[in-house]
């Protein structure tokens, strides 16, 4: 049962509390994903002088449910030439890894309920930051496998682009976080949040890292202006061209949950996690999460898509050097001051 010990971390809470918390967090994240699609369409609509979906339910609030029902009821076909095991495995891998990564993000200070100590995170792994990046990298396999196994030119090109883009920007993303890790002297997200509660939020000393994190994160979640993997005008839909029904839904879900996780990571690393005055921790966490997600949506409406060479140049020649310098300067300052 060593994995249970790992899951419940160093705190003394029984393992079943972790399971309950995991169920709650997964359901909240799924709920958040469903309404994120609606909110994104609403906000984008407003920015483009439209209403966005407003037909299903009051103010369109039942739109995600209608979408879900539509996707589930659709035929789950696959192309005749597709490699069926991998074709089905692709979306599952992507969705699974997307859901897993949220488990290490702390969202509260921890409480004592009915004599049991309940921590404000599902799992505290001492290397949770590395874990998130590692699982995220496994998630890329979901995209590559899906695009490759569906035997389509568009899907293959899309998955190649996804692969190249995600691998390129993962470097800058990991390096931009390095400054925070150096300042907090820990890879555990719980410790990083605790360090920010004691000290200032790292967005102030690590503003460069924060900006790089947001930019590389946009590319990492393949959102506009870095949405080349699914550029509709040139590739039909990217790696999920040949997918339909709930398999497409799983891909879409994994993309949005990756966005939520990434925003949660930005909040945790740079914006002090759940720390904040007056309101309880989870509320602050959700407020900050909403702000970051709004910035992502805002960016999507405002900026046009980059060309592929611009994307690569921006990743390797702009973000990577700045992230490296940022990490080195932070290291020097931390050692000398």
């Amino acid at each position: 049962m060593s994995w249970l010990v790992l899951a419940s971390g160093s705190s003394g809470e029984p393992w079943w509390i972790s399971l309950i918390k995991a169920a709650i967090v997964i359901n909240l994240v799924l709920f958040g994903f469903a309404y994120l699609t609606l909110i994104e369409r609403k906000v984008m609509g407003r920015m483009q002088l439209r209403y966005g979906p407003n037909r299903v339910g009051p103010f369109g609030t039942l739109q995600p449910i209608a979408d879900l029902v539509k996707l589930i009821r659709k035929e789950s076909f696959f192309p005749a030439a597709a490699i069926d095991v991998l074709y089905i495995l692709g979306p599952f891998l992507a969705a699974f890894t997307a859901l897993t990564t949220f488990s290490v993000i702390p969202w509260g200070p921890g409480w004592t309920i009915g004599g049991y100590e309940v921590t404000g995170y599902v799992a505290d792994v001492s290397i949770s930051l590395l874990l998130i990046f590692a699982i995220g990298s496994i998630g890329i396999y979901g995209f590559i496998i899906g695009g490759w196994a569906s035997d389509s030119k568009f899907a293959l090109l899309g998955s190649m682009r996804t692969c190249a883009q995600l691998v390129s920007y993962e470097v800058s993303l990991a390096l931009s976080v390095l400054g925070v890790v150096i300042m907090a002297k820990s890879l555990s997200l719980v410790d990083i949040v605790a360090a920010q509660g004691a000290d200032i939020w790292y967005v102030i000393p690590q503003i460069v890292g924060f900006v790089i994190f947001i930019l590389a994160g946009t590319a990492e979640t393949a959102r506009a202006p870095f949405d080349l993997p699914e550029a509709e005008q040139e590739l039909v839909a990217g790696y999920h061209t040949e997918y339909g029904g709930m398999r497409f839904g799983l891909y879409s879900m994994s993309e949005y949950i990756n966005l939520i996780t990434l925003s949660g990571l930005a909040v945790t690393l740079f914006l002090g996690g759940w720390h904040g005055p007056w309101l309880p921790g989870p509320v602050w966490f959700i407020i900050k999460l909403a702000v970051i997600i709004f910035v992502f949506i805002w960016m999507r409406t405002t900026l046009p898509r980059l060309r592929y060479d611009q994307l690569m140049r921006f990743g390797w020649k702009v973000l990577l050097p700045i992230a490296t310098v940022n990490a080195v300067v932070t290291a020097i300052l931390v050692v000398w001051i």
Binding site: W298, T302, L303
Partner: protein
């Protein structure tokens, strides 16, 4: 300057959140059609109740998509339908073929057929799209608002001033 230009773009999109959307919510709000909009056909009567159509089939001859079918019959003293010698015993327009060009209107010597303002013509079956004489003679059930004619003579389009 490139970065400031980008930031300006962010400002523009943010500002637009607080503006009223210019969307016209269609089924609730029907945008008034142009005064000379060509919608569903209508057949007309004289003031004394007689039909204007005399069954000459000129409309059917003019129709490029061949969607009008006219079968004429003689008027008699005890059964007088139209003002002319003959009347249209059958007058059918297949609206699934009609292209709303208005040639029938131009071809008609008695102004018996005109193109009205109705544009909501969807049906569940193709057969329902064949409009018979009774349907064309009847007053339209749905009233379509018609735009004020001089609104379109202004140099600035209405959607720019009204929203």
């Amino acid at each position: 300057m490139q970065p400031f230009g980008t930031l300006k773009g962010f400002g523009v999109t943010f500002k637009h959140i607080f503006k009223q959307p210019i969307t016209q919510q269609y089924p609730e709000y029907k945008r008034p059609v142009y005064p000379r909009f060509r919608g569903r056909h209508r057949l007309h009567r004289h003031a004394n109740g007689l039909e204007k159509c005399v069954g000459c089939s000129l409309c059917a001859a003019a129709c490029p998509s061949d969607c009008i079918r006219v079968v004429a019959a003689e008027n008699t003293a005890e059964h007088r339908v139209s003002a002319g010698e003959r009347y249209a015993r059958i007058y059918e327009i297949n609206l699934s073929r009609c292209i709303f060009c208005g040639y029938c209107e131009l071809a008609c010597p008695f102004d018996a057929i005109t193109l009205g303002n109705e544009f909501e013509l969807s049906e569940y079956s193709r057969d329902d799209l064949i409009y018979t004489k009774d349907m064309l003679l009847a007053e339209p059930i749905k009233r379509i608002p018609v735009q004020d004619a001089d609104l379109y003579d202004t140099p600035i389009p209405a959607y720019k001033t009204s929203s």
